[in-house]
Amino acid sequence: MIAMPCVSPDGKPTGTGLKTLTSVKEGATTPDKIAEATGQPMFRVRSGLRELVNAGFLEEADGKYSLTETGKGVL
């Protein structure tokens, strides 16, 4: 089992994942802004965003992140 700090094994976002999703909802759409809003180091933000995109909570276009319908549904 590979540890995923933003998405738990049952496919739901973890506390860190929810914090990231909330920051996106509140307008932080780039990794820099998300790092600033959540207080996470940039490497954690980048890996977390990758997990949240793969799990279908976020989508990315031109380096900007937005919530999917699934992402909106968990907030």
Binding site: I2, A3, M4, P5, C6, P41, M42, F43, R44, R46, S47, G48, R50, E51
Partner: protein, 214 residues
């Protein structure tokens, strides 16, 4: 047939090879560290004495490294479960919290990429390596220590200070330099430059050895 590992040693000045690996803080890529300095280091094994002292020492300098925009990423050929059990034990028994991620390199993918396994020392464990990678992903320093010798954290901090000073001020740093000491002015490469150098107001022992305070 015996498995043979051919360590590939990435060289200073080259781009560090990209990888994606499971860690105690999720799957990380080297490129996740773009924009910050990174100390990628290997240790032989979890739950071993010298490694435990090193991890406590790395944890101690981590706040200082953070002030220097520098992250730590450990690695050994152990599982994430083993890493987690070990760092929990270090916190419980030694009172030191390990907050940086550790790669679980069970398939030796990253250690082979960086030449961290030296078969004459051990075919299964990584030696004590330190790879300092700059914010653009270029390998700037490589240190190798044998299994029996724990690393000197002040030297690692000193190298970070030296590299950052070099990048900022375009100077070099002399033997035993520490932050705040005079730095070396790069020597001129022409006779005309040599002639001029001794008149430029630096503390020169001769045209090729000049110091200045920053």
């Amino acid at each position: 047939m015996e498995e043979t590992l051919t360590p590939k040693l990435p060289l200073i000045g080259e781009k560090a090879p990209e990888f994606e690996a499971p860690t105690t803080q999720g799957t990380l890529k080297l490129s996740d560290y773009k924009g910050s300095w990174l100390i990628l280091f290997s240790h032989p094994a979890d739950f071993t004495p010298v490694c435990t002292t090193e991890f406590m020492a790395f944890a101690e300098i981590y706040p200082e490294l953070k002030k220097r925009n520098t992250e730590l990423l450990g690695l050994s050929v152990d599982s994430t479960s083993s890493h987690i059990a070990w760092i929990r034990n270090v916190e419980e028994k030694m009172g030191v919290k390990i907050t940086f991620p550790i790669i679980a390199d069970l398939n030796k993918e990253v250690s082979s990429l960086f030449g961290m396994i030296h078969p004459a020392q051990s075919k299964t464990e990584t030696v004590r390596t330190v790879f300092i990678i700059d914010p653009e992903g270029t390998l700037r320093t490589i240190l190798y220590y044998p299994l029996t010798t724990g690393r000197n954290m002040q030297e690692i901090l000193r190298i970070i200070d030296a590299l950052q000073t070099t990048d900022k001020h375009h100077v070099a740093t002399p033997a035993n330099w520490n932050k705040g000491d005079p730095v070396v002015v790069p020597p001129p490469y022409t006779a005309e430059g040599a002639e001029a150098r001794v008149k430029e107001g630096y503390d020169c022992k001769d045209w090729y050895l000049c110091f200045k305070k920053l």
